[in-house]
C-alpha cells in the first residue's frame, strides 16, 4: 500500500514539469527582468536595481491606466451584480414560477462564450458614430437625424462606459447562473421558516438568501477583480497602443504590453509594471476578503 503511493510522483510529474517550465519559470524570469534595462531595441542588458519600479510608480500614465481600469471595472461589476441578482432572484422565486428558465439561462450566457476580439470588432461596427447601428437605432437615418449622432469614441469616459457595459453584457449571464445555483442549493427549510414569519419576498431575499450565498458573491467578485484588472483584449483590439480618446482605453494590461512590446520596447520596465499590477491585484483581493468576512471567521475564505 505504501509502495503504491510512490506512483503519485510519476503521475504528477508531467503536470509539475510543464508547470515549472511554462508557469513558474516565466514568472521568475519576469521578476529578474524587472531589475534590468532589457529592451528589444538594444542588444545589451544591464542590472538597474529598482529604477524600473521607481520610474513606473512615478509615471503619470501608469496611474492613469490604473484609474482607467477601475473606471471600466467598477461600473461593470455594480451593474453586472445588480442585473444578475435581480434575474437570479426572479428565476428562483417560488411564487413567481417563471417559465423557460433553461432557455433564458442559455441565451443570457451566450455572449460570454464569444471570442472577445470578435465582440470588439462587433462593437467597432455597431458603435461607428456615422454609420453604426446604435446611432441609427437611437436617432434614425435622415439628414436631420444624422446631425444628432453621438461620436461614441471621442471621449475617454464614453469609451470606458461602453467597454464597461459590454463587459456587463458578456458576464451577467455567467454571474446569474452561479447565483442561481447557489440559491437553489439553499435548504428549503430556511425559506419556510421565513415565510411562516410572514416576511416579504424582498425581505427574505436580502436577509436570508444573500447572506447564504455570500461565499459565491465573494468568489465572483474576487475572480472579477483578478480578471477585470487584467483586461486587455477589447481595449487593445479597438484602440491599440494610443488608447483612444483621452487615452481612456489604456488599461493596466494595455499599458504593460505597450511598454514591453511597442513604444520603446522596454521589457525591463514592462516586467516591473507586471509585478506592480500583481501587487495591486493581490492587495485588492485580500482587502476585499477582509471587508467581506471581517473578523468573524477566518477559515471561511474562498477555497
Amino acid at each position: 500500500m505504501r509502495g503504491l503511493n510512490r506512483w503519485a510522483y510519476l503521475f504528477i510529474l508531467p503536470f509539475f514539469v510543464i508547470f515549472a517550465i511554462f508557469t513558474a519559470y516565466p514568472i521568475i524570469s519576469t521578476l529578474i527582468t524587472s531589475f534590468t534595462n532589457e529592451s528589444m531595441a538594444t542588444m545589451s542588458t544591464k542590472f538597474v536595481g529598482l529604477s524600473n519600479y521607481y520610474s513606473e510608480i512615478t509615471s503619470g500614465l501608469f496611474w492613469k491606466s490604473f484609474g482607467n481600469t477601475l473606471a471600466i471595472w467598477i461600473p461593470n461589476i455594480i451593474l453586472q451584480m445588480a442585473i444578475a441578482l435581480l434575474l437570479a432572484a426572479w428565476f428562483t422565486n417560488s411564487e413567481l414560477k417563471l417559465k423557460g428558465k433553461g432557455v433564458f439561462r442559455a441565451i443570457f450566457f451566450f455572449p460570454n462564450i464569444i471570442t472577445v476580439t470578435t465582440i470588439a470588432i462587433l462593437v467597432y461596427v455597431l458603435f461607428d458614430w456615422q454609420h453604426g447601428v446604435i446611432n441609427q437605432l437611437l436617432f434614425g437615418s435622415g439628414t436631420a437625424e444624422t446631425a444628432k449622432y453621438i461620436n461614441w469614441f471621442d471621449r475617454g469616459w464614453r469609451i470606458q462606459l461602453i467597454i464597461g457595459i459590454i463587459q456587463t453584457w458578456m458576464w451577467f449571464g455567467y454571474t446569474m447562473i452561479m447565483l442561481m445555483a447557489g440559491i437553489q442549493a439553499m435548504p428549503v427549510s430556511m425559506y419556510e421558516a421565513a415565510t411562516i414569519d410572514g416576511a416579504s419576498g424582498a425581505r427574505i431575499f436580502f436577509s436570508i438568501v444573500l447572506p447564504y450565498i455570500r461565499p459565491i458573491l465573494v468568489y465572483i467578485i474576487i475572480t472579477s477583480i483578478i480578471g477585470g484588472l487584467q483586461m486587455f483584449d477589447m481595449p487593445w483590439v479597438l484602440f491599440q497602443n494610443q488608447g483612444g480618446a483621452d487615452q481612456g482605453a489604456m488599461t493596466m494590461s494595455v499599458y504593460m504590453y505597450s511598454r514591453s512590446f511597442t513604444w520603446d520596447q522596454n521589457l525591463g520596465a514592462g516586467s516591473a509594471v507586471a509585478w506592480i499590477m500583481f501587487g495591486i491585484i493581490a492587495v485588492a483581493s485580500f482587502a476585499y476578503l477582509k471587508v467581506a468576512y471581517g473578523k468573524e471567521d477566518r477559515q471561511d475564505g474562498i477555497n
Binding site: 503511493n5 506512483w7 503519485a8 510522483y9 503521475f11 508531467p14 503536470f15 510543464i18 517550465i21 511554462f22 508557469t23 516565466p26 524570469s29 519576469t30 521578476l31 442585473i83 435581480l86 434575474l87 426572479w90 413567481l96 414560477k97 417563471l98 433564458f104 439561462r105 441565451i107 443570457f108 450566457f109 451566450f110 464569444i114 471570442t115 476580439t117 470578435t118 470588439a120 470588432i121 467597432y124 461596427v125 454609420h131 447601428v133 441609427q136 437615418s141 455567467y174 447562473i177 452561479m178 445555483a181 447557489g182 442549493a185 459565491i216 468568489y219 483578478i226 487584467q230 486587455f232 483584449d233 483590439v237 514591453s260 516586467s271 507586471a274 509585478w275 499590477m277 500583481f278 477555497n303
Partner: protein
Amino acid sequence: MTNKNNTSMLGISKMSTLNAKRLFAYAVILFFVLICILPFYIMVINATRSNNQVLSGVSLLPGQSTVDNFKNLIFGKIDPNSHIRGGGLNIPQGFLNSLIIAVSSTVLSGYFSALTAFSFVIYRFKGKKFLWSLILAVIMVPTVVGLVGFYQLISNLNMIDTYWPLILPAIASPFAVFFLRQYMISSIPLSLIEASRIDGASEIRIFHKIVLPLSMPGIATISILGFLGSWNSYLLPLIVLNNKQLFTMPLLIQQLNTTLYNRDFGAMSMGIAISIVPILLMFIFFSKFLIEGISSGGVKE
C-alpha cells in the same frame, strides 16, 4: 398596499399583484433576451448586405451580397485591371489553426489534469500539502505576471511561430486539476479502487479503466471550458505567432480592424458571423454541460 384592503380582498389583490409582477419580470427578461440576441442577428444580416447598404441604415432582412462579402473577406478586394485579389484574411486556415490548438490542448489538459487530480485524491505522499497549495495559489496569479518571461522563454527555446507554447502549457492547468479533484472526491468510490488492487490491477490501469470513465462527466465539463478558453485566447497567440498563415481566429479577426482591404462593413460582418457560427453550434449541443459545470463550480466553492 395589501394591508390597507380588507381581508376578503386580500387574496385577489395578491393574485393580481403577483400577475403584474410576473408580467413585469417577463418584460425585463425579454429586454435582456433582445440585448443578447439582436447584436448577433444584425451582424448575421449585415453579412449578407453590401458595404453601402450597411452604411445607409439598419435592416432586419437579408440582402444579396453574401457571396461578395465572403470573397472580399477571404480573398481580399479584386483589382479590375489585373483581376488579382489581394489582402484577404484566410479564415478557413485560421479556423483550422485554432482547431488544432484547441483540440490538442483540450485533450492534453483533460488527460493530465485527471491524472494529477487522481493522484491528489488517492495517494498520500510527501509534499502533497505544499504542492496542492501551490496549485491553488497559481489559480490566483494573473497571467500578465509571467508574460514577459513567457515571451523570453519561447524565443530562447526557438518556439516562436510554433504551436508548442500554446498547446503544451495545457498539461499544467491548475484550475482543471482543482475542479476535477472536487469532482473525484464526490464521485469515485475508494472501495472500487481497493477491490481492483486486490484483483492485481496496476495503478495506471486503475486510472484508465476506473477513474477516467467515472470522471468523464467532470472531464467533459472542464474540457468544454478549456476548449473555449483556448479558442478565445488572444494575448498569448499575439506574442507567440508572427506568420499570418499560422494565425488563430482571434488574431485574424483582430486584423479586421487594421487591414487595409477589409475596411468594408459587409465583409467585417461576414468575418464576425463566420467566427460566431461554430461557437453557436457548439453551444447548442453543449450548453447544458457548460451551464451545469458553472453551476456545480459555484456551489462547491
